[in-house]
Amino acid sequence: MKKSVYSICGMCTVRCPIRVETENNRVTWIEGNQHLLGGALCAKGSAGPALVADKERPGQPLIRDGARGSGRWKKVSWETALDYIAEKLKKIKAEHGAESVVLSTRGGPWQDFFKSFIHAFGSPNYTNHDSTCGRNTHHASLSVYGVGRKDYAYDIKNAKHLILFGRNMFSSLRIAENLQTLDMLDNGGRLTYVDVRQTITGLKSTRFLQVRPGTDYALALSMIHEVIKQKTYDKDFLDRYVTGFDELCTFIEPYTPAWAAKECGVREQAIKNFVAEIKEEMPKVIFHPGWNLSRYKDSFYASRALHILNVLMGNIEQKGGLLIPKGPGDCGKKGIQAINIAKPDIKRADGVGWKYKHFDKGPGLAHLFFNAMETEDPYPIKAWIAMRHDPFSCMPDPKKQEQHFDKLDLLVSVDTHYSEFGWYSDVILPECTYLERDSPICVQKGPKPRLAVRRKAVDPETDTKPAWQIFKSLADRLDMKDFFPYATMEEYWKWQLEPTGYTIKDFDDKGFVSLADNPVLFDPLQLDGKFKTPSGKIELISKKLTDAGLPSLKEYISPIKPPRGMFRLVYGRTAVHSHGHTTNNPLLNELMPKNSLWINIKSAERLGIAHGDLVDVVAEDESYCGTIHANVVEYIHPEAVFTLHGFGKEIPLQTRSFHAGISDQKLMINKLDDWDPAGGGINLCEAFVVVRRSVKNPQRRIEL
């Protein structure tokens, strides 16, 4: 039978709206939602059915039947697996307290559900992957505006100039945002792109500034300097909403374009020309504050500088600027309900909230649990449940992580595929794919807010289950019957929609419920109360940072040059993969089976490396070495080498991605402790590697 259902994509965490056609429980067509994306979908989105059909995913629960990481598994029933976990958790709770259990997920709209589970269990220790992603950007936003990084939407379509610092948006692919950017360019808008290498995004730019790795902060400071010198700021906006401008003016004095030109390796005139341009274009100028800025020691401050540039443009709640996302209340509508069980009043083991008061208490910081595992301070950690989160892929130095996790009595991985952490864990609970499951209704805030829902397109053909059912079944075994008192997702949707007056049928026509016909805009002159800092103003000198003993305007320190013969390892992504999630997908693996090492043409020449040669990439202490092909290019800074994240996996059951390419995080030896005390992010681009032409390059033909 033919069916069509609107849903939400799950190939990456952008979660684009989709429409799925099926016939006899087989997906025949997926396209981007015509009402929102005009049908547009990326390669990953179209490879969804290949994920469903992939036999190299766990098809039923697995319990470890050998040493951790040995890859020996016993196939068991759901009852056996859940009983096993519940028994272990009960024992751990009785002996060490509920707080010794950590649950980690990925970010996104369904976090409340998992947070509620661990809270109901009695632990405050919910965390996610964000300390290796957007935490620095998020905390930078909180320090300036008092609201998080997702509390602004970028009206790129109506902007005249978009500035991206390493934000490679045409490889990260948020389709709606990409369409806006291309529309802006079609309308004559400008794009300034800053990176250590040329990317697909940089190709579309009107100005490309290739900087020395780790000097983004210097460039941003010089832009602030020139903006202030040229009086390219909105004085009324500053007077009305902003504190600390005088301190900024004093601080910024030494950071001239001439100084930055030397520090970053760009032309002074390029910076000056840039500021002259935005003087004409403001306030329709957007400085993107970055996404995955867990990169350099000062990435948090680089992001703060970008936020400050937006403040100087006075672009908040202006067409072509930063818009405050509106929720149901702003449209005179009632919002949905969602389970949200309060956090137990126990100190978090990662120290967030008591030891580190300036960080967002929501997900805390995942990497700070390792210290608690070792020292048992404030208390021991005994179990880790990773829901779709792969600590071994996200965080540096998985071998070091193994040592920490070995202190734990229970490691559980819930995922649609084998993750590197899952392979090391004690139990794998296989989740069905996004095309085979329903998820709770979520609110998508924005100038035109919506309610959206992911709906099952096909039934799973393997013994896999949706996460909500897995956690409900576990909760039932742990006497947490109040955690999710709904037998089906339909029942939960009904309860979620109760206050709104809508029913799930209202999602049938378009896949979403629009809460506003036209964009809702606030009066830019009436923004009082919108900034949640201690003073209620935009704080260029953040009280929270000052209280934590941290500077708001940090002196610039030049990044160290790689030692002789070494390179700074920089990672990134491609449009055809969602990191390690998709490297084993048959269709996407076919497009790009492994990564390469980007190296500057001159550096390569010195090392006798030709384009296409095999090169060994060796960690600083030589404990990990991977061999891949060299991509010798002109447009990458000679201090850096670049590779795509998500490769070099070591899971034999994933035959396509097994040992294909190299893993950047495995090259980051001892970098688990290299994190930013101000921003909270791990500094993922502070590792140096040795590159040499590999002896594995064929020399002579010997074999028959």
Partner: protein
């Protein structure tokens, strides 16, 4: 005369290779054949920004196709609207078509052991829709255009 063509707006193309997978997913193709492909030229600096040109290629649906002439079973058909397609019932997988094509466009489907190539998704076109690659192009860079005599 050919009625249709697929046009790529290089200014909007971001080389994401979505079209290639949209095509494969729609035709339910296994690993191996690609019926369309995106390519790009070597980067050169234009006004101090390194730039490249993207190109899209599927099948040219020739006015006088060599593949049609050489096919021993008459499996290759040119429709009145110019679309050249391979009748899977008649194809014996000899791949003479691929040899005769200046661009080696026809490919072997390793599962069915028959020749396949782009047919502009003619079932979709006949239903008033656009080919899969155009319908789902990530940035709306691909257009399915109707050619008209000047």
């Amino acid at each position: 005369m050919n009625k249709y063509m697929i046009y790529l707006n290089g200014k909007r193309c971001i080389g994401c290779h979505g079209c290639e997978v949209h095509c494969k997913a729609n035709k339910n193709l296994p690993v191996g054949p690609y019926l369309c492909e995106i390519d790009h030229s070597v980067m050169v600096k234009v006004k101090s920004v390194p730039k490249t040109e993207f190109s899209f290629r599927s099948c040219y649906h020739c006015e006088d196709p060599f593949c049609l002439a050489i096919c021993p079973t008459g499996a290759i058909v040119k429709r009145a609207d110019g679309i050249v397609y391979i009748d899977q019932e008649k194809c014996i997988g000899c791949m003479a078509c691929a040899g005769s094509c200046p661009w080696t466009i026809p490919q072997l489907n390793p599962e069915t052991k028959k020749a396949i190539k782009c047919d502009y998704c003619m079932d979709r076109v006949d239903a008033g829709l656009n080919p899969a690659c155009v319908t789902k192009c990530t940035t709306h860079a691909l257009k399915f255009v109707e050619l008209r005599p000047l």
